[in-house]
Amino acid sequence: MLEVKDLHVTVEKKEILKGLNLTIKAGEVHAIMGPNGAGKSTLSAVIAGKEGYEVTSGSITFEGQDVLEMEIEERAQAGLLLGFQYPVEIPGVKNIYLLKAALNAQRAARGEGDMPAPEFMKLVKEKIAQMQMDPSFLQRAVNEGFSGGEKKRNEILQMLVLQPKLAMLDEIDSGLDIDAMRVVADGVNSLRDSKRAILLVTHYQRLLDYIVPDKVHVLMDGRIVKSGDAELAKELEVQGYEDIVEEPAA
């Protein structure tokens, strides 16, 4: 589904990713872990198309398409969706309006018409109940005055409505208490199926108790230095990043 080959990325003349390789197949959940500054967030930002990141070499393909040639919105329309670590506030724009605009833009890209309003409302009501959010959130401005936990739930709500093929979640667990973490994790788990993939970027192993990954990668100094299954995350928790890479690669 997603193929990242020998990716080199520079931000403000500093090389952050130094030859990263990653292959994600449909149905898989991958977790990328690593210390601060390793380039974890850079990877998902580059895949989503954020400006300010210069790809100096390497390639990213998604279902055979050259992602680096696509506009930001085209990537989302193709099914790549990024859940933000720090979602921005958009004053005056209702949450429901953003959801509707996003969903209909993606449908239009697939050659489908707008979702009829009653169907849309039914869908949103169902998903907002799933995220245990109050329906009044839909009428509030996007992320404005939301607590950290509310923002994260809102990101997952968008995922549930938009149903991406590849959901990338950047530090979705940061700032969440245990109850909120459970709700967020349940939301993410409900996305899991054989046609979809999930890429988790996280600093802590804690999240992976709730969303159990198929593959875990350790990202250090711009490269994936070690890959394994869910057990690797647990070892990391015990040994720390420095020690684990000193072992011979698994």
Binding site: I72, A76, V88, G92, A101, A105, Q158
Partner: protein, 480 residues
Amino acid sequence: MATEEMEQLVRRDYKEGFVTDIESETVPPGLDESTIAFISNKKGEPDWMLQWRLDAYHQWLKMKSPSWAHLDYPPIDYQAISYYSAPKRPEDMPQSLDEVDPKLLETYEKLGIPLHERAALAGVAVDAVFDSVSVTTTFKKELGEAGVIFCSISDAIRDYPELIKQYLGTVVPVADNYFAALNSAVFTDGSFVFVPEGVTCPMELSTYFRINAANTGQFERTLIICESRAQVSYLEGCTAPMRDENQLHAAVVELVALEDAYIKYSTVQNWYPGDENGVGGIYNFVTKRGDCRGDRSRISWTQVETGSAITWKYPSCVLRGKESVGEFYSVAVTNGRQQADTGTKMIHIGEGTRSYIVSKGISAGRSNQSYRGLVKIGPRAKGARNFTQCDSLLIGDTSGAHTFPYQEIGNSTATVEHEATTSKIGEDQLFYCRSRGISEEDAVSMIVNGFCKDVFQELPMEFAVEAEALLNVTLEGAVG
């Protein structure tokens, strides 16, 4: 000018008669007493009105064009302007939409303007399209039953001279400023509204419904009076782009609110801004002022300004009555090479007066925009309060936004708050929307509309919807 010449003018006028005359006559460029006499005669005005105009003209001659605004335009040659042009004859107008500039039609389409209105706006011969005569008759009857007077200012001068004498020029004196003096001397059209004591006007009044309004004057004069406990909501302008051969527009609007009266005045201004180099756009120099004469009266200005090459406009409130309230809600959008210097003045005179200002400025392209606001609190305005919020949004790197807030506080019991922000349209906000699959252009319009929401919600419903569409059209191509 010699008396004979003037008489000759007047005589010729008379000989040809008013009705047929209107179809054929245009006064040659230039401004002197005879031009004013011609206009006054054309309108069938009484002598006192002519004297009033001449007085304004003499004061104007002694005045200088203001230069303090943050605007750059070549000097205007007032002798090169024609001050009276009769409405076009139907045979000179396009006979159907097929003859109208396709670009204009495209814009109407985008704005969602109903088909039958498109033709009227594009200046297609009116009887071919307009079924507004019946509409007009119906609403005239309803207004008449309520005792509301709504007619052109010219009709009012003829039919309600006492009201005109009592109120005209009492809010904006003839010599108030250069453009107001010019307007007082040569105004040719505009609206008159009178809502008697205790009456709430049964419908929103719109210039659009006024017969003959299709040909908007270059020097419009509007006077709205609400007696005690009366209320009216008035809509001016139109979201559709209006083309006009007259480059200079200098309107005057006067509002008078007596005790417990409420006037809500909403404007959508979308004059031609000129081509990409700013050539040919309208210069819009407007004086708008409301006088809260009575206790507890309230005047509310809401404006959406998207057009014109140059805008010079400060809808203001004089808060004379005790506990009277002035409000100003404004969205100004400039793109291309547009320049706008706009804002408001809130003059607190009475005790316990309150004013509220929300100004949203959006500059894109190479445009330049200034907010200029004065809050003045007089010595007798005990406990007066003002709140000002003034936000500017920049799109791209070549536009400019400036804020000039002035405060003159004449007593220590007043509370004045000012909040101002200038922000660039957030790259992060854009990225966030686009990463959801929303196109860049739609994302910009979404963010900008959100930015303007506080003001849009003050607009009457149907205007608000049109205003959003208008904003999107104005900002088309502003990014990327």
